[in-house]
């Protein structure tokens, strides 16, 4: 999947989350760290945003995968880092699906 498409959809999702929450949404670019920059974008909303991104992309992003904060260091991720992570998740999914299809 194209990284630019993921980035565009991710930004749309984050804007929608902030709008639905009645919160401001500052300008978002590749260097923005949503967990730091977006008001009330808390850990309760991260899996929701991941799920909404999955819907927007027509894919399944498991909400156990934390795409907004590094699981090991707990450092908030920037948009470009999240996009790279999502790309990795989707590629792994595709590889697994291909493997399962081959096994059948």
């Amino acid at each position: 999947m194209d990284a630019n498409l993921i980035k565009a959809k991710l930004i749309e999702v984050l804007q929608a989350v902030q709008s639905l929450s009645g919160e401001d949404c500052p300008a978002i670019d590749g260097g923005t760290k949503p967990a730091e920059a977006l008001p009330k974008f808390t850990s309760k909303v991260w899996p929701v945003a991941a799920g909404m991104l999955g819907i927007a992309l027509g894919k399944s992003i498991p909400c156990e995968a934390n795409i907004f904060v590094d699981d090991d260091t707990k450092v908030p991720l920037a948009i470009n880092q999240t996009v790279a992570l999502v790309l990795k998740i989707l590629e792994a999914q595709e590889a697994q699906e291909a493997e399962e299809a081959d096994a059948e």
Binding site: G22, K44, V48, G51
Partner: protein, 295 residues
């Protein structure tokens, strides 16, 4: 003791996080969004779980099998039934075994002391009251959870098809949207007292309030329920009938089982009301079917 309490706290957090994510996944896999109120019975069916209302005095029962089944009591109030269904679905999706939940008032152990019960309750709360949905429900009404009145909280509870006290508990513990002091203040008002404030008189009948911010999803009621709709609302069918025009809107009473479209002429506000017979016993998916001899 402090270390044990800390461990319990940690475990609860981990359990709550797992249950919240399971609720999000459950909604997504059932093809639902992560904002709107949902019909929990249709989500259970989408997960292959058969839901039946029974004439038994209990909260709910989950039976793992092929298919798995959820049994609910038709004697419990409608919002309680929905919550119990979500709770039992939580047992199913979190991989717990079959279980029976007695009436809450008869339970010897506090449910939240049992990890499976705490997890199932947390799942139920997030499945029925998604975080973003709640935030949106307050935002579109121009409300803040900490300052919303009991009547405003009641309206939001109606929108999500859950009880007033359930919403207060979830706003406090699940979402941390209100303080303990605010929760205590809100709990001083019983749902009955809130209904009396809204209607201007005491009534034993359950009351559903669907205000202008209602998102257009179906209004689930039972025969005998009162439904307060925006002023000027009309019903295109006889499942519900207008009974009074109040300051807060037009009051209807659910009269017959069935579906009815309701709208406000001159506006884009519209919804369907789905009326089940009182204390309906049978499969959940058939609860709104009209009686053949109703004609």
């Amino acid at each position: 003791m402090k270390a044990l309490a800390k461990t319990m706290m940690y475990n609860r957090r981990a359990l709550a996080d797992k249950a919240m994510k399971a609720a999000i996944t459950a909604r997504l896999k059932a093809g639902k969004d992560l904002v709107s109120p949902v019909c929990i019975y249709s989500i259970a069916e989408a997960h292959g779980v058969r839901v039946t209302f029974n004439d038994i005095n209990m909260e709910g029962m989950y039976q793992r099998g092929s298919p798995s089944r959820i049994h609910l009591s038709s004697k419990r109030p409608l919002p309680r039934r929905a919550y119990n269904c979500a709770h039992e679905l939580g047992h199913h999706l979190l991989g717990h075994g079959s279980s029976i939940d007695e009436l809450r008032e008869n339970q010897l152990q506090r449910p939240w002391d049992v990890p499976e019960e705490y997890s199932a309750d947390t799942f139920a709360a997030y499945a029925l009251m998604p975080t973003l949905g709640l935030r949106n429900a307050f935002a579109i009404r121009g409300l803040k959870p900490e300052t919303a009145t009991p009547i405003e909280i009641y309206r939001i509870a109606c929108q999500f098809g859950i009880g007033y006290s359930t919403l207060v508990t979830h706003l406090l513990w699940g979402e941390a949207m209100i303080s303990h002091a605010r929760a205590d203040a809100l709990r001083k008002f019983t749902p009955r007292a809130v209904r009396a404030h809204i209607l201007g008189s005491l009534t034993l009948n359950p009351l559903i309030v669907a205000d202008e911010a209602w998102g257009g999803h179906a209004i689930d009621a039972e025969v005998g329920h009162l439904v307060l709709l925006p002023p000027g609302t009309v019903a295109h069918g006889d499942a519900v009938a207008p009974v009074a025009d109040l300051v807060g809107g037009r009051l209807f009473e659910a009269k017959h089982p069935g579906l009815v479209r309701i709208d406000r002429p001159g506006t884009d506000w519209a919804a369907f009301a789905r009326v089940a017979r009182t204390a309906y016993v049978g499969r959940a998916e058939f609860r709104h079917l009209e009686d053949e001899d109703d004609d």
